[in-house]
């Protein structure tokens, strides 16, 4: 009878899994979760683990370059290190960190109970995880990708790069692209359709606005790299000629398609962080954001213009003076809306009642470092100047100034700001300040020497350099700086561990916040809002707490700021929440199987992957759930 009882026990196990998933306890409740807050936490924790991986890769690179004729790693390993470092930090750290914030905050900021498509949201997370794992699985299959994060063809074509690394890279990015696209569709629909009554577009918090702009960038930029990656894989796997010079293919096609995606991508990385900064500054200055419409419209302007600047990555490829001049002008122009934002942030601080807590420190650090990054970027927009800087360490210094000095500082501002909302506890302030100062010093010690090295002529992507070039001291300084950064990250991790256990209780509104997420308990209940709020103003929660007194100073409303309390049991039972589902995970699991089948040309594996994906899709569609 064993054959009969077997399926019954499987069904029984599945039933228990579903039960557990519905109770919000245990591992299965995380695996089948469709709650945007839990998905946000999964995104954040996973991205942080990838940050450690990418960070260790960076430390190895710096160790190798610390002294001339370094021999810490071989040239082959060095190529894999810088490729994986760049790919990891962009696709597996900064983008998913932004996704973590989208997930945690957008529904709360617009007064919704979840996103428009909760299961699609879970699918985005699992697909991101699968893409990251597939990318790293390359190490088991004979070596990580080694063509740089930009993967220039024909360098990445089969005759010049016959290992499987590039295939894993292309397939991994393709899967990560599916994840980003699904998430972007979801958040556009959520922001446009799920706003609480009264939450008109121009009452939305700026972070939500920047999420919207970023999501549009993602859905319009990712298809270009998807096509480029398909073309590369058709060349590598099936002998097509897209980038094959022997049959007349041109390497410029890859560069155009890659950078049509690649430059908007830069803004995909930075716009969410600009949103975070626009939330932190007003709260810690106790002032509304200066020039809200300007900050919003400059964000939209950046998003539009980012599609018209890609060829500034290609000045030295011989596009000709007219194309170079046109793209030079558009690149200079995009600095204007960016500058508008900087001045509005400074004006927000001006005359404010400033409390210099960790979130504000990181936000101000972001402004200072990002301005340096932006200005060095303007020097690249000048064609003759760029001819000198192309492929030098100055470029490396510039984009780290933007993506680390900008994005990572801003992400930490957001972590310190919203950590109490989602854990119920404040991070330790002293450790936070130590983290900030160590990171600021370490950051500048690492990347300012790279600016000088670049101007002295040190090229990018070299695994070592001879003695006597005058580069030794600067390289050693940069390496020391990178270890100071690593130390600061350790301080942050210690802070999280300590504060999760013994941190100060945060309460609903520890920072005297302005937006709706601070009006509900910390951590928020699964249904977010017991009653859907009715919004009457921009910074609605602030206006519930304060009225304007003499001289424009805020005066607390008597009995104002009535925070939502946890409701009675029977109250909560009436709130309908989307049911947990494991079909998103099944769909995601099929993708790497499908991709591996193509990488190893094992069509049985392709078919197996397709069956898993189709099973997931049909299970999803036929599941008796009420929402996407």
């Amino acid at each position: 009878m064993a054959t009969v009882s077997q399926p019954v026990s499987v069904l029984e196990a599945l039933r228990r899994v579903r039960q557990e998933a519905a109770t919000y306890r245990g591992i299965w409740s995380w695996i089948a979760t469709v709650d945007h807050k839990r998905i946000g936490i999964l995104y954040g924790v996973t991205a942080f683990i990838f940050l450690l991986a990418g960070g260790i890769e960076a430390l190895l690179i710096r160790l190798q370059l610390a002294t001339p004729n370094g021999d810490v790693v071989s040239p082959e390993v060095y190529n894999q290190l810088f490729t994986m470092h760049g790919t990891t930090m962009i696709f597996l750290v900064v983008m998913p960190m932004a996704s973590a914030f989208f997930n945690l905050l957008v529904p709360l900021q617009i007064g919704a109970r979840d996103v428009a498509f909760p299961r699609l949201n879970a699918f985005s997370y699992w697909t991101f995880l699968m893409g990251g794992l597939l990318l790293h699985a390359s190490v088991l299959a004979g070596g990580a990708p080694n063509g740089g994060w930009f993967g220039y063809a024909p360098l990445t074509e089969f005759p010049y790069n016959p290992g499987h690394g590039i295939d894993f890279w292309a397939m991994g990015l393709q899967i990560l692209g599916i994840s980003s696209m699904a998430s972007a569709f979801n958040f556009i629909v959520t922001i446009l359709n799920m706003r609480a009554p009264g939450m008109s577009l121009f009452r939305m918090p700026v972070f939500t606005w920047m999420t919207l702009a970023t999501a549009f960038l993602i859905i319009l930029a990712m298809p270009a790299i998807a096509v480029a990656l398909f073309q590369l894989e058709f060349d590598r796997l099936f002998g097509a000629n897209f980038f094959n010079p022997v049959k007349g293919g041109t390497p410029l096609l890859w560069q155009h398609l890659f950078w049509i995606f690649g430059h908007p991508e830069v803004y995909i990385l930075i716009l969410p962080v600009m949103g975070i900064i626009s939330e932190v500054l007003p709260t810690f200055s106790q002032k509304p954001l200066f020039g809200y419409p300007f900050v919003v419209f400059s964000g939209i302007a950046i998003a539009f213009m980012s599609f018209g600047v890609w060829a500034h990555h290609m000045y030295t490829t011989g596009l000709g003076p007219i194309a170079n001049a046109a793209f030079g002008v558009s690149t200079i122009l995009i600095a204007v809306p960016t500058g508008v934002k900087i001045f509005n942030w400074l004006a927000t601080l001006w005359g404010g009642n400033i409390s210099l807590r960790a979130p504000l420190l990181f936000a101000v650090g972001f402004i200072a470092m990002f301005v340096i990054g932006g200005l060095t970027g303007v020097t690249h927009s000048m064609v003759p100047s760029d001819y000198q800087q192309q492929d030098s360490y100055y470029v490396v210094a510039h984009f780290h100034q933007v993506l680390f000095g900008g994005a990572i500082f801003g992400i930490f501002a957001g972590i310190y700001y919203w950590f109490p909302k989602f854990t119920g506890r404040l991070l330790n302030e002293k450790l936070a300040q130590l983290h900030f100062w160590l990171m600021l010093v370490g950051f500048n010690l690492t990347f300012q020497p790279m600016m000088i090295l670049g101007l002295m002529g040190m090229p990018r992507r070299i695994y070592t350099y001879p003695q006597g070039m005058g580069w030794d001291e600067w390289n050693m300084l940069a390496t020391i700086g990178s270890f100071v950064i690593a130390l600061s990250i350790l301080v942050f991790m210690a802070n999280v561990v300590v504060s999760l256990r013994r941190g100060e209780e945060a309460g609903a509104d520890p920072w005297d916040g302005r937006t709706l997420e601070w009006s509900i308990p910390s951590p928020p209940p699964p249904y977010n809002f017991r009653r859907i709020p009715v919004v009457r103003a921009r910074d609605d929660f602030w206006h519930r707490k304060y009225v304007e007194g003499p001289g424009g100073r805020p005066v607390p409303v008597v009995a104002g700021g009535a925070y939502e309390k946890h409701g009675h049991q029977e109250d909560e039972e009436h709130i309908h929440l989307p049911s947990p589902s494991y079909f998103p995970l099944i769909c995601s699991l099929g993708l790497p199987i499908f991709a591996l089948g193509f990488i190893f040309k094992d069509y049985a594996l392709v078919a197996a992957g397709a069956v898993v994906i189709l099973y997931g899709i049909y299970g999803w569609a036929l599941e008796p759930a009420t929402e996407g």
Binding site: N193, P223, F234, N241, F242
Partner: protein, 200 residues
């Protein structure tokens, strides 16, 4: 506590008044436009750049492809009939058109399969030249999209036969229709640029 009307719990409650899934389909089609835009741009970039044959004029059979294009365009008409019937609640007609549309799609795919085999026999492969590379990948991706559409429509037809599609959820048919029309429009662009304008 008063009970809200049933309708307010579904589509009309969104802030824009648009159904969530319909809005998402429009956004998806926007990204698909960039996807096919990039593929078509690649085809045009390499147009006339092949270093060796077979060239387009050696293999193209315009009358044949015109017929299969006509079949695909007619499937847009039957798709529109299916959507209309679903919205009016004419279930019998809806089922008919939900079957005819994917059958027309399959006919188009059969034409494409015939065309690919014929070109292959005349020596045009994915690797023979830039034309082979760009032609097969561009039209192949379009064919893959038609196949997905066929799968969606047949699934809808099966659901309709089980009585699960009616006036109340006609939006399902409408959204599938948006996708189907988009794929047809892409074919109009491909047919014009790749086949009809080839002599230019």
């Amino acid at each position: 506590m008063t009970h809200q009307p049933r309708l307010a719990e579904t589509t009309l409650e969104t802030a824009t008044g648009l159904d969530n899934r319909k809005l998402m389909m429009w956004l998806f089609l926007a990204s698909e436009a960039v996807f096919f835009g990039s593929l078509i741009a690649t085809y045009l970039l390499y147009r006339g750049q092949s270093l060796q044959g077979p060239y387009p004029e050696d293999v193209f059979n315009i009358p044949f492809t015109s017929v299969s294009s006509f079949i695909l365009l007619m499937s847009s008409a039957t798709m529109a009939l299916a959507v209309g019937a679903a919205q009016r609640g004419q279930l019998h007609q809806m089922r008919t058109w939900l079957l005819v549309t994917p059958l027309l799609g399959i006919s188009f795919l059969a034409g494409q399969a015939f065309e690919f085999t014929e070109f292959y026999r005349q020596g045009l492969t994915l690797s023979s030249n830039l034309f082979g590379t760009t032609f097969y990948v561009l039209t192949g991706f379009h064919g893959a999209h038609v196949s997905v559409g066929v799968l969606i429509l047949l699934s809808l037809w099966a659901a309709a036969m089980l009585g699960k599609i009616g006036r109340h959820n006609a939006i399902n048919v409408e959204i599938a229709g948006l996708y189907w029309h988009f794929v047809d429009i892409v074919w109009i662009v491909i047919f014009t640029l790749v086949y009809l304008l080839e002599p230019l």
